[in-house]
Symmetry: D3
Subunit: 269 residues, 6 copies
């Protein structure tokens, strides 16, 4: 069967999500180019491997040459001090979009994060039209990526889907994870739809499965034709019964960002 | 079993949709009066046949006499030059609502069109509260019908459901048709709900099946108690794999109206 | 299995809903305290019984002592003259929240009503952000409860879920009841979710099953992780076929409040 | 010159605002009926005096007989314990609207309060479409009045203007008062417009002068044709220079209700 | 001094507004071409006169040749039977925009009307994003013009300012006219701004002076840099004192369209 | 007279706006600390001078020690290549807020820019609740500052006013500058109000005078009690008469960002 693409690029291929995605992407493309800042071992069949520091302009340009579309999962993916985030997630994104624009690449899928909106409360319904309220340096860097890609669409017509990924691990074990869980299958299908939909412009979508409760309203991304198939409901019986309310001043249950609120800049110092 | 109506009128009975609907309507009414500008052959059991030019005031009045409710599918149903649209869709609607008002008919279902909103982009989510953005003379004439029926509700209490019908053919074969597809069964059920819901006031709804992606938010019409049962997902395996993006300046994929954008007034002349 | 609570309080335990809920609540709590203004008979296993006039401040305080959470179904539950509503639903609520606040009870589930919004039209979609439009003294008293509980959250951090309950009887027999129907199972699950969700702040939700049509948009309460399992569609075949439109000036089909519109103050006098 | 009314009723004529308004109302009406629960002395020329307990149904009916329109400033006008508020502001309003409805009085101007919205933050812009967030029993009682009058408009066509009055004293001396100040002249003109505008339906408006800053957006009441003429800017030079920020946890500067937040139920007990 | 335009076209030059505008337009253009269906006499200095039936396609094309911009005040300007409205305001607009598009004319100012929104209530605040609710054939024809010009902007880049003109006569004498009054000077300035603003896209604005009350929110047209200088307040002293409320069922004071509500189709017949 | 502050800090004191503000700030504070990356000469009376590279964490900490509030005008203030913007506007802001947080400084006024929203069209009305659409690296860096300061408010209670400054030069000479002009006096008053308002939380406001036309709706910042006194109308007579429309594809008149659209990354390269 014909695949949609000749060559797509997955950055961050050595990261947690990158490793799980690696084996799934050959369905979309004849060749999958895998990039990471670290050595991720040899290429398998239908793969290419590139080692690349996102902060290195020339290296990023080479990484992007010849690809049809990019799944950008590279960069720092958790709350740490600012310096590495600046290099990989701020400068790295600038380098990436410069390459995309110069090389005429038409489509990017950007692994954004729910931490762009982590300071909204857990009783609020968040959608893509609401102003960002990040919960730390990491969330701020994802807001940067969303703004930068918006600019490249508005000004140069480069299309991007920003996916604000939820909790994408095999099994949720807390209330927050039950709400934000995204199964790997659903992520793969969302990537698929983000890649093949004829027009996406600059779309911000939430990467979350069809869980019983959701903090996110994804109506602005219906044109992606994505429907999650999995649900965290399957794990509900494993969770504690509830009724033991967290302290009234517990920030991590008051805000959508959860534990990230206690990992950010200068806290507790 | 008792049917809801004694006599309903279907206009445009000889058109594409009219012919497919003809056999389905006897479930709703003891008698189905079929009208068309052309000769549509003899009436079957439980049918009446009327030939009527919508631009002819007297003829429209006679067509409407004695009916309980109207399904108005008549008039020009595609993008053509203005003259026939003016006669059938502008003057024709004026004649129809004059008759409805004079005769005390309480309910009309008006076959409007998604081309009332065809200039919205395919990455936008459209709902009934947004201003019309038609994509040609045909779409403009449907805006006319929606405004006129709104007036008859506001001023005289005549109830209308305007259905912005999507792609109502047996099988979608393009991305646009996958998004806008409406199965005949779903259309029939939507007509049914539009006819029997006790109060509809002036309702604008989108006629679309439960497809994986939708450009239209139908929350303003939930009171119709309509739920589509079909989905274009069943046809997905027949479509090309994607990845071959249309040119950046291709209006027909940028806008919801699709091919109609190249069929309108003075283009390319 | 561990239950979420040691002791929860159900007020109005002798009322229509209270009696149906009584046997279901032991799943949530080791002890269920049942309160009513009338004598409701002896306590069963795992139950406590308290007789309490909500207008009696001291009595309410005693009723609330030692409970973890409250399901407040007490008070007048239909349209009657103002005096008893004032005592039970206005003063009663003041007494209840004073007790809740003084005793440090963290969570209340308040049986509000769709009659808080009964003057909206049946063609309108209502959500929790819209201003109240009650349809009589009863609806007004429920607006009072929603405002009072909002105050206790804003000012003192007492959490409340207000459930605007629909038609919660075994079987709907009118169009209005088809739209507003809430099955007992769905109500029980909604109570469950309202009790165990870690944070609810002040949530206003609509208590309604997954019926084909709905007048209410519950997006502001998705964080409760509630999904109705039942639907009034199962009763559709028993209803009349429709087509017999109510008179144009029939207030009870024009407004969501239905028959309550003819039961309110000074009508017809 | 002809005055708009034959007889208008001012309740609460002995209160702070009532006394200041008394001499101004004869411009609007041949006769001004002054009512209060207390003895307010003898009637002057063009005046009638009535003593009335709002909680007394018969007495309220007599008070309202023969009047063309009502300015309702009666009842409890500050934060006190609940009992008197219930009698005068809850039961009192029920009695008043019952009389209005029975007697066919067409127009009421209701002295509501900004304390209906006192729990909004001082950095938020509040308008009449937003849900009430009262800051105590007093504010709650004004929400009651707004809901009750809304019901009487929706159901019976009684027209009311609810004025959420700001700080209506001769001179503001705090930042909060600078923002919320309403001059007596502006109040009188707002009452005038509320009385003579041909149609007001149920209008909620904010009673505030043209101060440099405002927390309230009054766009929903433009049809009253009211424009404030005064401004608190004239007092700015008397205020302290600023820069001495209140403590971060000071509720009275965080919320629009100001000092009322520390006067409400059970605080600090 | 240099004028902005070489030649502008004023249609409807013989109508009520056209005659008052005629002498004012030479400030904007070296030549003012005046068109009307009737004979309007000889051209003055700096003028050209053209007689033109808007329903005549060829004639409209000739009328538009060589002009830089168009002020379209032509067509039927009040509520009459449908036939002449269809010819002048529906077909006429189609002919006009066809000519504009073919001739490459960049800017049209279209005299729309507040009767596009006449069925909104007089207690509602209307803005350009709200759906049309016309009050008769005339209002419907202006909705047609707004939709048609929207299409020509969306599809072909023809810029139009639609001015929903209020009561543009020398002196208001009713409450409705006080609210909707537009002075001639303000109209002229609004036309000026509509012509010279570098970009207007498709702008819908309300033509109304700075009156004490307004039903219309014009925030979507601030980019025109128009500020009214006149106000109906100057006439307030001449109006009756008020207090004599219209009957509760008087449609002309309930709705913004005023007397037009009783002039429309089939009323009272 | 007592001044509001003991010591305020102005960064970017050597820049265009910094130099003009320098002499005006002594009205607000006993001591004005002036900082710049360049040598700005000796301190005058009531001044302190600090030389500081914003990218140097220790240096920024020292710059902020002992100040009551900060006016942050430092960093790169126009569209240049990314490297210096990253150092001064991204890392520089991180350093600044780290210092502010550690030192317990309560209030920052941040010189943001209208270029955060430069890709909105000139026919759109922009407000603070709309998502950012920057027009280049510079605009992106200001979005960064707004997001970062939002985080410091949400998470740590540091108050910031972000002023999206318009065209702040002595005299506007183009249509765009007429719309976006901000007089120095108005800027000074806006800074004053931003400093002394007791509570500002995280406020985003537009810095623009009371010009005849505005692209920006500042309703979300009314609590600052700022009213511009100047208007670009005084310069209108100096501008060309208009009528000479820019080319249809001219990005700089289509978008609010104006000439910045042609100064950004990789254009035309």
């Amino acid at each position: 069967m014909t695949k949609p693409f000749k060559r797509i690029l997955l950055t961050g291929a050595g990261g947690n999500l990158g490793r799980r995605l690696r084996e799934r992407l050959n369905a979309f493309s004849d060749i999958v180019r895998l990039a990471d800042v670290a050595d991720i071992g040899p290429a398998g069949p239908g793969e290419e491997v590139v080692q690349c520091d996102l902060a290195d302009r020339e290296s990023v340009m080479r990484m992007c040459e010849g690809v049809d579309a990019i799944l950008h999962f590279g960069g720092v993916s958790t709350e740490v001090e600012f310096a590495p985030i600046m290099q990989a997630n701020l400068l790295g994104l600038v380098n990436l979009y410069e390459a995309v624009h110069k090389l005429g690449i038409r489509r990017v899928v950007f692994a954004s994060s729910n931490h762009t909106m982590g300071m909204y409360e857990t009783t609020e319904l968040v959608d893509a039209s609401m102003p960002p309220r990040p919960d730390g340096y990491y969330g701020l860097s994802k807001v940067w990526g969303e703004s930068l890609s918006r600019f490249y669409w508005d000004r140069f017509g480069v299309e991007t889907v920003c996916i604000r990924i939820g909790y994408c691990f095999p099994e949720p074990t807390t209330h927050r994870q039950m709400v934000t869980w995204l199964s790997l299958d659903d992520l793969v299908e969302l990537l698929h739809r983000s890649l093949v939909t004829p027009r996406v412009g600059h779309t911000v979508t939430f990467g979350v499965s069809d869980n019983p409760g959701r903090w996110w309203d994804d109506r602005h991304a219906r044109h992606l034709c994505f429907r999650p198939k999995d649900s965290s409901a399957q794990f509900a019986h494993k969770l504690p019964a509830g009724g033991d309310y967290p302290p009234a001043d517990d920030l991590t249950t008051l805000h959508q960002g959860g534990p990230f609120l206690n990992m950010g800049p200068k806290y507790p110092s």
